[in-house]
Amino acid sequence: MNQAQNFLKGILKENPVLILILGTCPTLAVTSSAQNGLGMGLAATFVLLCSNAVIAAIKDLVPDKVRIPIYIVVIAAFVTIVDLVMAAYTPALHKTLGIFIPLIVVNCIILGRAEAFAARNDVLSSVVDGAGMGVGFTLALTVLGAIREALGSGAVFGQKFLAGDGILLFVLPPGAFICFAFMIAAVNALNRAMAAKGKR
């Protein structure tokens, strides 16, 4: 597999959120607006890139039995960096995302990629894999955030395009579940259609 394919698989074919259904907690919780989704996506992407790079670099030094705790500490270190940087430079976003920034540590996408990819591949492929997965995650969150914001308050990225209040439900928790469900169904349908086309 070349690097371009390696990068692209994270976006649609193996999208971590929409196909593998990992990292659902932040996906549902922070997507009440497109901007929050984008912020969360970028923070997780940074952690994913750095942790994949470091874990691929140290994989031969780590004893097999204690690898998971070591991976978690590497991830937690980068999460702390993101947390402090965001608190300093984007305090408003940091406040909105709140508890979900430290919780990037237990985001299963990151540990999943460390275990499934970075621990078995060289540094360059791991960084590319991290970038692809990160972009896939960010895209999914931003699109879901945009859809919920558009339906719920008639705006995208804070830019109002409809007068009035919109359907409040979509900004509230139930709307997150329901929008996410239809998004997964749509991506499944798209993937199936593409697979059927490829076969013919």
Partner: protein, 191 residues
């Protein structure tokens, strides 16, 4: 009275799964059978209470006095991972029956964000030790309540005719959405 309010708020009004969105992975993952849901609930309730007490004490007596607050995330996740491992070893020795019931769920609990989430929420909300314990138990109960309700719904759903495109994760999420909507009816009971 204060404690009663904490419990009602954590179980119904701000349910950890349905309104705070923590622990969605096990919520979707182990809810296809009633018995699995019970096992997972028990494990989470137990580990959550223990982890909250331990991390609270570490924060109060080690991290806060030494000004090491920035290490919170790293230390907490390590403590939780070690604790889960320890609970597993102790249970295996002390109560094989309980170990058989909870054993397979314990490793999954380390990466369950409810545990770390509650440990951090307790510190953020400046709770004291007694409040923290009540808060942890109440959130464990809230998680169990949502999970068991959801498992019951999904067992029924296994028999129904679902449109092709919505099978699997989508229909589970829509059900969770409806359940979450039902829980919104509790909003306003506690401020």
């Amino acid at each position: 009275m204060e404690y009663v309010l904490i419990i009602i708020s954590a179980v119904f009004v701000n349910n950890i799964v349905l309104t705070r969105f923590l622990g969605i992975c096990p919520f979707l993952g182990v809810s296809n059978k009633f018995s699995n849901a019970f096992g997972m609930s028990g494990g989470v309730l137990f580990v959550m209470t223990l982890a909250t007490v331990v991390t609270y004490l570490i924060n109060q007596y080690v991290l806060a006095p030494l000004g090491l607050g920035f290490l919170q995330t790293v230390i907490y996740i390590l403590v939780i991972a070690a604790l889960v491992q320890m609970v597993e070893i102790v249970l295996k020795k002390v109560s094989p029956a309980l170990y058989r019931a909870l054993g397979v769920y314990l490793p999954l609990i380390t990466t369950n964000c409810t545990i770390l989430g509650v440990a951090i929420l307790v510190i953020q909300n400046n709770m004291n030790l007694a409040e923290s314990i009540v808060f942890a138990i109440a959130n464990g109960l809230g998680f169990s309540f949502a999970l068991v309700l959801f498992a019951g719904l999904r067992e029924q759903m296994a028999l129904s005719d679902i449109p092709e495109g919505l099978k699997g994760a989508p229909i589970a999420l829509i059900t969770a959405g409806l359940l979450s909507m039902a829980f919104m009816g509790f909003a306003g009971i506690v401020k």
